[in-house]
């Protein structure tokens, strides 16, 4: 018989707290050491219900598929058909999201323009105005109209192809931005009418309108300045997608760009990125419902962004009712952002390829999120543009493959009925049945 009183007890496995995880503890130590919150680029990194939680059903006895490589599956989309005299016609329903010169280098902006143009789609300016690199290499260029109005002028308004009034973005609905002083080169400072080297605050509200009634008049002014030619987009963050979409339609939008919380930013507080806004998946159906309730679905086009990575994501967003999608972070990765070839340099910055998000500091080894001329020179805009074009074409092929398997001869013919969900949460957010059931959680009448 063992005498337990004289033996050491068997060891237990050290157990770390789920609540106080290593990540959380490191954040606490960082805050205690610095006295300031963490700022970073990118979108939400936490796991949220996403397109991965949806599956296409594919064709069966009740649906017949289209022949891959033989039967046509159209991908074209026209944006801005409601009021604009000159809507934007794109070959593919995947656009490049707004990212500023300032946040990105000149060669990176050129590469975005080159890649988008080669793939038959549009790119978008950002906070900081329009650069010649971007205008010159972008066949279709959307000009953002932001609260800061950095670089805003009527000549650029007239030489763009569409105007995007930015009300919010998914990474920070309700928040403005800050471009830290180290990224304010002479050229960036000149474009923004500010001294070199200071932190440049981008306001969270527009300076000359508040609310949807004012916005309607602001849109009138922009249309009058541009001869009613340009499609007017309104970009909103994923906060209250039903009401915001309704109000944007009422205000006179041609296109609504809806950005979920996985959508990136150049620089914002980590606590903001991770805790404000809704996942992209949760935003689409309320926005589509608003369009349908207003009788405007397909008349006012819906562009979805925030975590689009593959042709499957594109197909799922369109099946849920979007007309197109927009990519930002994925486009940067295609250009070369976070590439493991720079691993040693990422390590020297205290991070690793795939996790680098200090875009605001301007030390990007890949030469994309920087104004350092030596780093920026690392990015060949021609080669990077080709990579982006390749990536866009692959995404399009992937989406077509899925659409044909669902028997659709246009990506826009995908519909919620083609989908099921792997989780109850995704089923509720997407408004499609949980796999293996006919249960749509939260659907009326349940």
């Amino acid at each position: 018989m063992d005498d337990f009183s004289t033996k050491a007890p068997p060891p237990t496995t050290p157990r770390k707290s789920w609540t106080f995880s290593d990540d959380v503890n490191s954040d606490i130590r960082r805050a205690a050491a610095t006295g300031i919150y963490d700022i970073r680029g990118g979108g939400a990194k936490r796991r949220v219900p996403h397109f991965d939680d949806l599956l296409f059903l594919g064709a069966s006895i009740s649906r017949y598929p289209l022949e891959g490589y033989r039967e046509k599956c159209d991908t074209r989309v026209t944006l801005g058909t409601r009021f604009a005299k000159k809507p934007i016609e794109l070959d593919i329903p995947i656009t490049i999201a707004g990212m500023s010169f300032g946040a990105l280098s000149g060669p990176a902006k050129e590469a975005l323009g080159r890649g988008a143009t080669a793939a038959g789609t549009s790119t978008t300016t950002g906070d900081g105005g329009m650069t010649e690199e971007e205008r010159g290499h972008s066949k279709k260029l959307v000009y953002q109209y932001l609260p800061s109005r950095y670089g805003m002028n009527p000549d650029d308004l007239r030489r763009c192809d569409a105007i995007e009034i930015v009300v919010g973005q998914g990474a920070k609905p309700g928040g403005g931005g800050m471009l830290l002083g180290q990224k304010i080169s002479d050229r960036v400072a000149e474009m923004r009418n500010l001294p070199k080297g200071i932190d440049q605050r981008s306001a969270c509200r527009h300076p000359d309108w508040t609310g949807p009634d004012d916005l309607e008049i602001k849109i009138l002014e922009l249309r009058e300045i541009t001869n009613w030619e340009k499609p007017i987009y309104i970009k909103i963050g994923g906060a209250r997608p039903y009401f915001d979409t309704t109000l944007a339609i009422k205000a006179g939008a041609d296109v609504i760009v809806l950005d979920g919380m996985q959508g990136g930013t150049a620089a914002t507080q980590d606590v903001f990125i991770e805790n404000v806004g809704q996942p992209t998946l949760a935003c689409i159906r309320p926005a589509v419902q608003a369009l349908q309730d207003m009788g405007m679905h397909r008349q006012v086009q819906l562009v979805i962004s925030g975590g689009i990575r593959t042709g499957a994501d594109v197909a799922k967003a369109l099946a849920l009712g979007a007309d197109a999608v927009s990519i930002g972070t994925a486009a940067l990765i295609a250009l070369g952002d976070n590439d493991p070839r720079w691993e040693a340099e990422y390590n020297s910055l205290g991070t690793t390829a795939g996790a680098y998000d200090d875009w605001h500091e301007g030390h990007d080894p890949a030469g994309i999120t920087t104004q350092n001329p030596e780093l920026a020179a690392r990015l060949d805009p021609i080669a990077a543009g080709r990579r982006l074009s390749n990536y866009l074409k692959v995404m399009t092929l992937e989406a077509q493959t899925i659409a044909r398997a669902c028997g659709k001869n246009h990506l826009h013919n995908l519909e919620p009925e083609d989908l099921c969900a792997l989780t109850i949460e995704a089923a509720a957010m997407a408004g499609v049945p949980l796999a293996g059931t006919d249960w749509v959680p939260g659907a009326k009448g349940f």
Partner: protein, 229 residues
Amino acid sequence: MNLQTIDMAHVSLRELNTTLQKPEDASNATNWEVINSKGSHAIAVGLDAPIDVTIKGSTGYYCAGMNKQATIRVKGSAGPGVAENMMSGTVIIDGDASQYAGATGHGGLLVIKGNASSRCGISMKGIDIVVHGNIGHMSAFMAQSGNLVVLGDAGDALGDSLYEARLFVRGKVKSLGADCVEKEMRPEHIAILEDLLARSGADAKPEEFKRYGSARQLYNFHIDNASNY
């Protein structure tokens, strides 16, 4: 020099702006007048020619928005956002101006002979604004560059978070915003004021004004300044 009249009782806003944006297509006149404006929004926006436009009546939102080169006179009062994002030229309001007058303006001269409401000169980027009367709260918020001259009083939080804009006020300032301080009036500032007062038809002497500008303490974020925001 002959005067062309556009009557908004019979001409739509679209026709009005199309004509004024390309005046050479309609006439070789350099002087235009607009009657029966009835407070319409977006009158005379996006002009880009050295013409003189007189609007006989009050205007709604964004009159003279993004103006370049033109001289636009409002013989009445102006609604919100008059001369917003103006690039060059001159805009003269005989009456009062509502909120956001001259917002984000990059250049040119905006003269308001009456009072201006809140947020006058918000985020201004090089425009010169002269207000003969008083201005409301939060004026010159985040003002980047240019000159704001006020012959009367200024409301609360003048120049909050401003950058390099110069603010000149003859009357009382109810309160200064974050990082806005009174500064020394040097000869170069007197010269700027003399010029702006003369060009705006203001009856005032430069020596009667005080100058305000940025203390530049908030230009780079520092945690010790967090309570100032």
